[in-house]
Amino acid sequence: MKPLKKTVQSSPEVTFTAASHKHLQNILKKVKPKSGKLLSKKDQPEIFIILTADIPAEKRTELLKSKKGITLNPEDNLLKRLLELEKENRHLKSLSQTDELTGFYNKRFLNKQLKIEITRTKRTGQPFCLMFIDLDNFKSINDTFGHAKGDEFLINVCHLICEKIRPTDFACRYGGDEFVIIMPATFLLDGISIAQRWHNLIVQVAAQMEVNVSSSIGIDEFDVSCTLKAEEFLDKVDKELYNAKNTGKNKVSYPGERLKANKAEEKFVTPAEKDALYKGSAPLKQKRK
């Protein structure tokens, strides 16, 4: 910031950016510059710039002190640099991994992690699961009780999920009331029971807050034979969610053919369970001898 100040002092031409549109309007009322331009909110959603040459020196320092704005000289391209700086700021913000409201990971993180998991599955042969959660009827909260209540609901649900989620799973906020959970090293069957758990949890939160909200969940497994790309797999799971929505909502939908016979049992019984079953039968065999 130091170089900026320097420039300001060396030039009568002043550019000003304020923290908010309203703030700027207030300043404009105070200083009443003879010429100047206020960029509309639409053009610049985050930066409001006024170009003016006639802000009195004492007002200028006042503005500088308020820390709510920066004055600078457009002649040496500082305006442009400032705009670029703002752009970069926004970029940096989006680079962050979490969603501000819920504390879940954001969509950007999801896209990155999904690619990592696909590579991991290809390398280790272990499948992972991905589920799409979409709240049913969520808009009704916003419409009847206001957005604050809607936000409260989201926060409650997400905090509970964060508390109970397996440390290896990733919970992401995909959109308004859409969430995606990635479950590395997880078979579909286990994924389904986890989905069922989140489904029940959402029912509980809704009951506690006395709102009529439930969830539709679509889930699928990405196994080593799958050749889909990240976006294609997301699409596939989204279709599963669509299926849940289309067949009455408030349910978990998964591709049934994946749970089909074909010695699927092999997949469901863990070595420990199998071992125990076999051991349990051992005395039997001896008796028969």
């Binding site: 749970l259 125990a276 079953l277 039968s281 039997l284």
Partner: protein
């Protein structure tokens, strides 16, 4: 007899094929019918339906006409020589084995609508296919048939585990079929029961055993129902005990 209330729906399932689901379904139905119960059997093995063959009948209409025609389940019900009624299914129709989710829902809804029976027995297909899970889910109680083969135990356990993990079921009944003696039946039940307690956290319910008996093979060949052809046989006795246990479940 209380035919006004909803029928008690029991599915007969296994995981592994060929362990005697269909044999148990028809013989249990005949035993219950002889005791004065109104029983309906539904052949839910959509791909490999064979109750009609086991009974030596050739029904005009079957489940296919419900799914692809516009018949109601009620329209395809026929009486049988076992004293119970039957909803036959068609065998070898590929489309039936791969029914769409919605079609299964239609059958399920119609089954739930049926009145005038004390019990409905569902004979399911083998394996952990979606259709099988759906019919098990619909039933009030799942009877899992096991025999002394280890693969039948692991597959039965897999079925229990899937029904528990996917749908939260925690109540299953076991029949040990084709066993040399009572003790053997009990010991294979104890085996799977202890694994369920240990890994899934709930016990299983033992309905009883059915002895290995050559009368079964003989009746199958003649397309007859064993407990009817041999009413004083040991297996007829086995089925009497099992039927009492099933009626106890219904009361509970």
């Amino acid at each position: 007899m209380n035919t006004k209330s909803k029928p008690f729906i029991v599915s007969v399932t296994s995981g592994k094929g060929g362990v005697g689901k269909t044999f148990i379904t028809t013989n249990l139905a005949a035993t219950l019918a002889r005791q004065g119960k109104k029983v309906l059997v539904a052949d839910c093995d959509l791909g490999l339906a064979n109750i009609d063959i086991m009974l030596g009948i050739n029904p005009e209409l079957n489940l296919k006409d419900v799914v692809f025609g516009n018949m109601h389940l009620r329209d395809v019900i026929i009486p049988t020589k076992g004293g119970f009624d039957l909803i036959p299914a068609s065998s070898g129709v590929r489309e039936m084995a791969q029914l769409l989710f919605e079609k299964i829902q239609i059958i399920k809804d119609m089954l739930l609508d049926i009145e005038g029976y004390d019990l409905i027995l569902l004979d399911t297909g083998a394996g952990i296919a979606e259709v099988v899970l759906q019919f098990n889910l619909l039933a009030n109680q799942n009877i899992v048939v096991i025999n002394k083969e280890l693969t039948s135990l692991t597959d039965a356990y897999a079925m229990v585990k899937v029904m528990y993990q996917v749908f939260g079921r925690q109540s299953f009944s076991i029949i040990a079929n084709n066993v040399p003696d009572e003790k053997n039946g009990l010991s294979i039940f104890k085996n799977i029961d202890s694994i369920s307690r240990r890994f899934l956290g709930f016990p299983l319910n033992y309905l009883g055993h059915v002895l290995q008996d050559e009368a079964v093979g003989k009746s199958v060949l003649k397309q007859e129902i064993a407990v009817m052809s041999f009413p004083r046989s040991r297996i007829a006795n086995n089925f009497s005990q099992i039927s009492r246990a099933v009626l106890d479940l219904k009361k509970a």
